[in-house]
Amino acid sequence: MKAGIVSYGGYIPRYRIRPKDIGIVWGADGEAMGRGLNIRAKSVPGPDEDVITISVEASRACMAKVDVDPTEIGAIYVGSESHPYAVKPTATIVAEAIGSAPVMTAADFEFACKAGTAAMQTTMGLTLSKMMKYGLAVGSDTSQGAPGDALEYSASAGGAAFLIGTDRTIADINHTVSYTTDTPDFWRREGQRYPSHGGRFTGEPAYFKHVIACAQLLFKRAGTTAEDYDYAVFHQPNGKFPVRAAKQLGFKDPQIDAGLCVREIGNTYSGAIMVGLCAILDEAESGDRIFAVGYGSGAGSDGFDITVTDEIGRIRRDATPTIKAQIEDHVFIEYSTYAKYRGKILMREG
């Protein structure tokens, strides 16, 4: 018996800002920065959007595609590094908003950008062991980069939800492996508004070491090579790292194109690989094989070897807008509006 994805849903806020418009404010060549990062725009949450609203929208999009009774969901885990409350779960609000509460368990996860995939693995275990029929794993973020920091050009907002179970799966998860070490490449201390990072240290000893090691473990576990897959998707902190990692592993551009959403929406952190996986599932056909390796700073990678089943043709994939449609439906804003929406302007109390 295998656990797998029963349904999926993603949500990307409508607003976008271009690297050029961020660079203008800080006296930097934003266009060059955007080219270097392979990011044309990044998504910005509206003033009334946060990780809770994004998680609810993604979860509702997930539930709209299938006829699953939400009270059959036994666990909801929401992975994020920008939960609106330090204490009070995002997951309970998601549970109420999709009608799953109260006979279920819920918790918030945090592991930088891979808390959502950690939630997928947890719900796989809970459903495979028959402790519950379904689990909902959500990865969502409204990430922030300090004003003027390199992160500000990429840190964006979005999220995705996966309904995990063992019955009527649209995509079976054949294997999952993880690779975890103590690597201080990116962090945010309690009470700090913006994260800190180790600059170039976030590359070789962090992202590449973990993603490549996890991917190679997954190849070994599955007995596969890059050629065996129709699609590959990686954590995408920018549009450069995943492309380089994919090439090192032997993947070609057509395999990674569908899931490389970062170029149009930036780095959605916990949502990044999950939104990419949603974009792939929006177009995948029965029999397609997907290779997915996420990454979270701190640091670790979760890998998934996935096979799409016949069931993909039976769910309502068009019940909510596809990731591609959400990427195309956007409104560009200037830095001033972005600063206002992201709470970067000090307002009077009231």
Binding site: E49, I52, V56, E57, Y85, A97
Partner: protein, 133 residues
Amino acid sequence: MAIPRFWREIASRYNLIGTKCGSCGKVDFPPRAVCPDCGRKSIGKMQRVKLTGKGTVVTYTVIHDAPAQFELQKPYVMAIIEMEEGVRLTSQVIDTKPEDVKIGMKVQAAFRKLGQEGEAGVIHYGYKFRPAG
């Protein structure tokens, strides 16, 4: 808004839960204990009903002078929306420019932050409406 008051309204604010009169079939939102048309005939016959979230803009206004919590959103649109079930409610219309909102426009419910009790207080969530895709 006091915490218990908002907490009591979570079902209707998150999931548009109203009531349907078992006597005349009229849908009310927010939920009612007694049908205003049928009176005591409806007692014990009021059923919980979840609205589809689809509606039409009946009329609207653009708010330029906003309360403190909505300063960041102005100018924004408040509309009376007639739901598919016939009941009308007042809500904000989001993800569109005020000049693009029209009477008769189709809208659908979205889940958004409604407000908060200051930076350290509880955050309130619930429905707003966006143009239907």
